[in-house]
Subunit: 343 residues, 2 copies
């Protein structure tokens, strides 16, 4: 048996950080010591873990001494600044940020899809963008049914993608509107309550916002399909914590039989089918909230293209879209290549 | 000058009915007499019109004597039951319901697009489904730029599509959730507050729900393009009163220049472009609420198909999606073929 691990979480006080703590209590990661790290502002706070109070420390270059496994979820600039120190200290880093995802030397991993891209010399593994994880979880099982050429995706993304602050903003604005008022201006450029808006990341010269560019590039990298066509429109909706996606999948030939599609999705680890036409029950973000599985339904042919089919999917952005996928990466490495972690 | 008209509204107490009254106060329809009709349950209520109280009467077969113009917005079964009596009484009927839309002898009209389909013997004009109106308003102006072959649409539909009762349900459930409770079960099969769901109309054997089938068939009829490919996924989101749509438009050849697309949309009557990449400002349902125009933006090429482009659009479901389009139909007939209305 291996020795239990010394684990650090950078960004412990955030929405994803909170999910890490809950997952460590219930999953099988062998943890001997847990170090909670965050910005200077949050240092000194205490967080509950297995009934005890753990004190949050400031994340600094020297915070990783003796750490075997470090989960980063504090934004790309924090990861860029500190992950190299964690690696230099001997920790295996699992990074939730976008900082290293498209680095060709960094595996971008959804364990159910491409655990084998972790190499014997990998010291840093990137967790993909939440929308890309949820999408690829539903697309990967369909690859055995035909050659997929193109995905057309419109998203319904929740507040949790903007962290705990955006979830609070949505609740506060909604309360103000229900009381008949107009909420004060926020850092968003439009009201969020009972409204939706194009994803609030900068828009590039091709008209895609950063979220959309991430989904295009990361989906191709996760699936190992550099030529895959991806058309994605990312929209933020007034939902608290799970992302939904309306997806059209185009194949190189006639779309597969729907019963085969359903069977492939039902057989896929981490995917659950909700597709009850009679009761009109299909995945909702509320169904997905707090669940590890990605939900898939509305399985039907595309009436405008015999080579295409449609799906509607939902997944918890904080769990499979972030913390759970990161923990599964660590678990998968411990199961496959334990020498990568710890002494 | 023509004589002012005797006008009836069937469904006067509903969400669309309320918009009719407000529009009659501000638009140029010459009204001498206004008869407000509704179900037996609502008879006796009073509604404000130009400062006066008008009493609602029960809509019955004999309610249309002397009526020149009757607007119906009380559901398909009410229209089926009563519109023939209104026509027999000599009224021109403008029907917001789905009852007669696909009848080949009934014009299905968005005045900016196909006012000419109203014929000298037309006695009943159908107002299309709200999602189809908003969609065709943005698609029609692009037809001069190339042959459109296929539309791929995912909708973000508001509560108002389910009437005043669904708007109230959304507000009440949201208030309950914000107070930390779980709202009681509604006639929907899932919670609406901070959630979204596949459109709550019955699903057919092809997997499309009724709303989606309407959008496919009505879009083709409005545009006069029976071969147009339409792939649509209709989703209800927790927004109060305007519908949004993420649209991919595929042409028979290379997609037009984006500047031409923008100019075509800006030049189209009833369409307003909101497309500010630098400030990340694009149409939102809140922008569209209370506005007559359909808003269009996120104009960009589809990176997965050189023949396609993408748009995001929003329109007020109760106005251009219903009451305003109906009033515009009447205005357009008065301007083009006044002999159709009144004595």
């Amino acid at each position: 048996m291996r020795n239990p691990l010394s684990v650090a979480v950078v960004g412990a006080t955030g929405a994803v950080g909170n999910e890490f703590l809950r997952l460590f209590e219930t999953r099988n990661l062998p943890i001997s010591n847990l170090r909670l790290l965050a910005s200077e502002r949050s240092a000194g706070k205490t967080l509950k873990f297995k009934g005890a109070d753990l004190t949050v420390e400031e994340a600094r270059p020297d915070s990783f001494e003796g750490v075997d496994l470090a989960f980063f979820s504090a934004g790309a600039s924090r990861s860029k600044a500190l992950a190299p120190y964690a690696v230099a200290s001997g920790a295996l880093v699992v990074d939730n940020s976008s900082a290293f995802r498209m680095d060709p030397s960094v595996p971008l991993v959804v364990p159910e899809i491409n655990a084998e891209t972790v190499l014997p010399n990998s010291r840093l593994i990137a967790v993909p963008n939440c929308t890309a994880i949820i999408l690829t979880m539903a697309i990967h099982p369909l690859r055995k049914l035909g050659q997929i050429r193109r995905l057309i995706v419109s998203t319904y993304q929740s507040a949790s993608g903007g962290g705990a602050a955006m979830m609070r903003l949505l609740e506060e604005e909604t309360a103000a509107v229900l009381q008949g008022g107009e909420p004060p201006a926020s850092k968003l450029n439009t009201r969020y309550a009972f409204n939706l808006f194009s994803h609030n990341t900068p828009v590039g010269p091709d008209g895609a916002n950063e979220e959309e560019s991430k989904v295009v590039l990361e989906t191709r990298k996760i699936l190992g399909m550099p030529e895959l066509g991806v058309n994605v429109t990312c929209v933020r909706v007034p939902v608290l914590r799970a992302h939904s996606e309306s997806v059209t999948v185009e194949f190189g030939g006639p779309a597969p039989d729907l019963e085969e599609v359903r069977e492939a999705l039902e057989a896929a680890e981490g995917v659950r089918v909700i597709d009850d036409r009679e009761r009109n029950r299909f995945p909702t973000p509320l169904d997905a909230s707090g669940q590890g599985d990605v939900l898939a339904g509305r399985i039907r042919h595309d009436p405008s293209n015999p080579n295409a089919l449609c799906l509607f999917i939902a997944g918890d952005q904080l769990l499979k879209g972030a913390a759970l996928n990161a923990v599964q990466i660590a678990e998968s490495i411990l199961a496959r290549t334990p020498a990568l972690v710890g002494k």
